[in-house]
C-alpha cells in the first residue's frame, strides 16, 4: 500500500474520532448520552439505521457473492420495505411515546420482569458475540490481504470506535454513522467507476452485463417455492419480512436509533429512508461483484483469492498436485478469455459462441473448486475464498488513493455497526440489568458513569473475543447462525405485547421458550433455511403465548 493510501486511512480515522467527540452535546446526562435528548433529525437517524445494518461483512461478503453467484442475494431484502411500513405504525409510536430507553423496558410495563430480563439477556448474549464477529471478520481478511498483524488490525478498527462511542454516546454514534455512510457509498461508487473504466476497449456496460448474464449472474429472481433454497423471492418477501420486523423492531441496536429522533414522525421517516434506498443500495453492491466477475474475465486474477494457507500447500506434500492445478487454471483462464472476447464481439445471437463461453466458464469454476477442495484437504481446515475477491481486487487493481478510500470504507462499515452495537449493549446493560436488578435508586450522574464504563467494558470484551474468534474461523458462522435461532421468537413476544391485548406475561415467557426450542429442532433436524426460521419462531411464540395466556388467565371475580 502506498503512503498516500496510508494517509487516507489515517485521515479517515482521525476525522471520524474527532468529529464524533466534537458533535456530541449534553452528554453529561443520561438522556443526552443514551438517547441524544430525543433531538436528532430524521435523515441523520435514517443514515444511522442504514450504517448500523451495513457492516464490513456485508461489504466484502456481498460483493463476493455478486462475483460468485450473481444478483440472487438481493431477494434477501425484499421483506424490508414492508417491515418498515408495519413498524412505522407499531414499534415506532409505541416505543417513542412510552419514553423507554430500551425495547425490553417496555416488555416489563406490558408483561413482567422475567420476560424483560430474558429478552434483554438474549440480546446481550447475541449482540455481544456478534460485535466481536463484526470486528473479527474484516480484521482477518484485511490482515491476510494486506499482510497486517491480526491483533493490530482488530485494535485499529476497535479502539477508535470504543473511544468515540464511550466519550460521545449515541450522538457520536449517529453523527459518525452519517459520515461513514458517505465514505461507504463513495467507496462503492469509486469501485464501480474503476470497474467500468477497466472494461476492454470498446466494450459497453451493456455488453459486460450480457457476458455476466450468459452464466446466470444477472438473474436476481427465483420464483420457486422451496423451503430448502436459501434465496428465493418467497423466502425474501416472507422470511425477510419477519427477520426485518425482528431486527428493526425488537433489536435494541436498531430501536435505539429511532428513539433518538425528534418526534414519532421523524422516527418514522428515518425508517422510510431504508424502505426506499436499501434494495437499490444492495443491488448496487451486488452489481459491483458482477462487474468484478467481468473484470476477471479479461484480467487474470489468482486461482484462489485467499492466500493465507496457500504457502503451506505449495510447500507441503500436495505441492505437485497444486502446481498441476495452477497450470490447468492458466489454460482455463485463457480459454475463457478468448470465449468472452468472441461472445462480446458477436451479436449475441450466436448460440455456438454462447455455449463455448458457458462451457469455458464452467471449466474454470471446476478447476477452482478442485483447488479449494485440495486446500481444505491439505490443511484440514475450513477455507473461505469468496470474501477475499473484493479486497484482492481493491489492493491489486484500484489506483493509488482509492485503495485507501476503499480500506477506509471497509473500516467505516465495520465501525458504524460496532459503535451502534456497543452503545445499545451499554444501554441494555445499564437500564435492563444494572438499574433494574442491582441499583434501582441512584443519581443520574452515577448511571452516566456506569454507561460509559459499560461501553468501554463491552468494547474491550468485543476486541479480545474478536482476536480469539479470528483464530477459530468456524466460530464466526456459529455466532451468525446462533442469532437466527431466537430472532423470530423475540419478534413473537413483541407481537403478543403490541398486537394482542389478551396476552399476559406467563404466555409471553412460555411462548418465547417454546419458540426457541421449536426453531432449534427445525434448524437441527430439517433442511429448512434460516430465513424461514424467523417465521417459525414468531408463529410458535404467538400461538403458544396466546394459549398459555388463556390457560393462566385469572377470572375477574377471583382478582377481586
Amino acid at each position: 500500500m502506498s503512503w498516500i493510501d496510508w494517509a487516507v486511512v489515517a485521515g479517515y480515522l482521525v476525522w471520524v474520532v474527532s468529529d464524533g467527540v466534537r458533535m456530541s452535546k449534553r452528554t453529561n446526562e443520561m438522556e443526552g448520552y443514551l438517547l441524544a435528548s430525543r433531538s436528532l433529525p430524521w435523515w441523520a437517524v435514517g443514515l444511522s439505521v442504514m450504517a448500523t445494518q451495513l457492516s464490513a461483512i456485508t461489504m466484502v461478503s456481498t460483493t463476493g457473492q455478486g462475483y460468485a453467484e450473481g444478483m440472487k442475494f438481493v431477494q434477501f431484502y425484499f421483506g424490508l420495505p414492508i417491515a418498515m411500513i408495519i413498524l412505522s405504525v407499531t414499534a415506532v409510536p409505541f416505543f417513542w411515546r412510552a419514553k423507554v430507553y430500551t425495547a425490553y423496558e417496555y416488555l416489563e410495563r406490558r408483561f413482567d420482569s422475567k420476560t424483560r430480563t430474558l429478552t434483554a439477556f438474549l440480546f446481550l448474549l447475541s449482540r455481544g458475540l456478534s460485535c466481536s464477529v463484526i470486528i473479527a471478520a474484516p480484521s482477518v481478511i484485511l490482515s491476510i490481504v494486506l499482510g497486517w498483524n491480526l491483533t493490530l488490525t482488530v485494535l485499529a478498527i476497535g479502539a477508535p470506535t470504543v473511544i468515540y462511542t464511550m466519550v460521545g454516546g449515541v450522538q457520536a454514534v449517529t453523527w459518525t454513522d452519517v459520515k461513514q455512510m458517505a465514505v461507504i457509498v463513495g467507496g462503492i461508487l469509486a469501485a464501480v467507476i474503476v470497474l467500468i473504466v477497466g472494461l476492454p476497449d470498446g466494450m459497453s456496460v451493456g455488453s459486460a452485463l450480457h457476458l455476466a448474464g450468459a452464466v446466470g449472474k444477472t438473474q436476481a429472481l427465483d420464483f420457486r417455492f422451496d423451503l430448502t433454497e436459501k434465496y428465493t423471492i418467497w423466502s425474501g418477501l416472507i422470511g425477510g419480512l419477519f427477520l426485518s420486523l425482528s431486527y428493526f423492531g425488537c433489536d435494541q441496536s436498531q430501536v435505539q436509533r429511532y428513539l433518538t429522533a425528534k418526534s414519532v414522525k421523524e422516527g418514522r421517516q428515518s425508517l422510510f429512508m431504508s424502505a426506499y434506498v436499501k434494495i437499490p443500495l444492495q443491488a448496487l453492491i451486488l452489481l459491483t461483484g458482477v462487474l468484478m466477475f467481468v473484470f476477471f474475465l479479461f484480467n487474470k486474477g489468482p486461482m484462489l483469492f485467499n492466500g493465507a494457507p496457500l504457502e503451506q500447500v505449495r510447500t507441503g506434500a500436495r505441492a505437485a498436485e497444486y502446481q498441476t492445478l495452477e497450470r490447468e487454471y492458466d489454460g482455463a483462464f485463457e480459454t475463457r478469455r478468448q470465449a468472452a472476447v468472441a461472445l462480446a464481439s458477436s451479436d449475441g445471437n450466436d448460440q455456438a459462441t454462447l455455449q463455448s463461453f458457458v462451457a469455458a466458464d464452467a471449466g474454470l469454476v471446476a478447476v477452482r473448486k478442485r483447488a479449494t477442495a485440495l486446500v481444505k484437504d491439505a490443511t484440514k481446515a475450513d477455507y473461505d475464498d469468496v470474501n477475499y475477491v473484493f479486497p484482492n481486487f481493491v489492493i491489486e487493481h484500484m489506483p493509488v488513493g482509492l485503495v485507501g478510500l476503499l480500506i477506509a470504507a471497509i473500516f467505516a462499515a465495520a465501525m458504524s455497526s460496532i459503535a451502534a452495537e456497543l452503545n445499545s449493549l451499554a444501554t441494555a446493560t445499564v437500564i435492563d440489568v444494572y438499574k433494574r436488578h442491582m441499583k434501582p435508586e441512584a443519581a443520574d450522574s452515577h448511571y452516566l458513569l456506569v454507561s460509559k464504563l459499560a461501553t468501554a467494558g463491552w468494547g474491550v470484551f468485543a476486541c479480545v473475543a474478536a482476536v480469539y474468534a479470528a483464530q477459530l474461523g468456524s466460530l464466526i458462522e456459529v455466532v451468525n447462525r446462533f442469532g437466527s435461532y431466537f430472532y423470530g421468537s423475540i419478534l413473537g413476544v413483541f407481537i403478543l405485547a403490541i398486537g394482542i391485548k389478551r396476552a399476559n406475561g406467563h404466555g409471553a415467557f412460555v411462548g418465547l421458550i417454546a419458540g426457541m426450542a421449536t426453531v432449534w429442532v427445525v434448524a437441527t433436524y430439517t433442511a429448512v433455511v434460516f430465513l424461514w426460521l424467523n417465521v417459525v419462531g414468531a408463529v410458535v411464540v404467538t400461538v403458544v403465548g396466546l394459549l398459555v395466556s388463556e390457560l393462566t388467565r385469572v377470572p375477574i371475580e377471583k382478582r377481586k
Binding site: M71, P81, A220, R268
Partner: protein
Amino acid sequence: MKERLAPLFVGIVLVEILTIAGLYWMGVHFS
C-alpha cells in the same frame, strides 16, 4: 397537523414493485 401516511406507504410499495420489475427485466434482458 395529522400525518398522512397512506401516500408514503403507497410510494414505498410502488418503489419496491418497480425495483423487483427492474431486476426481473435485467435478468431477462441480459441473459
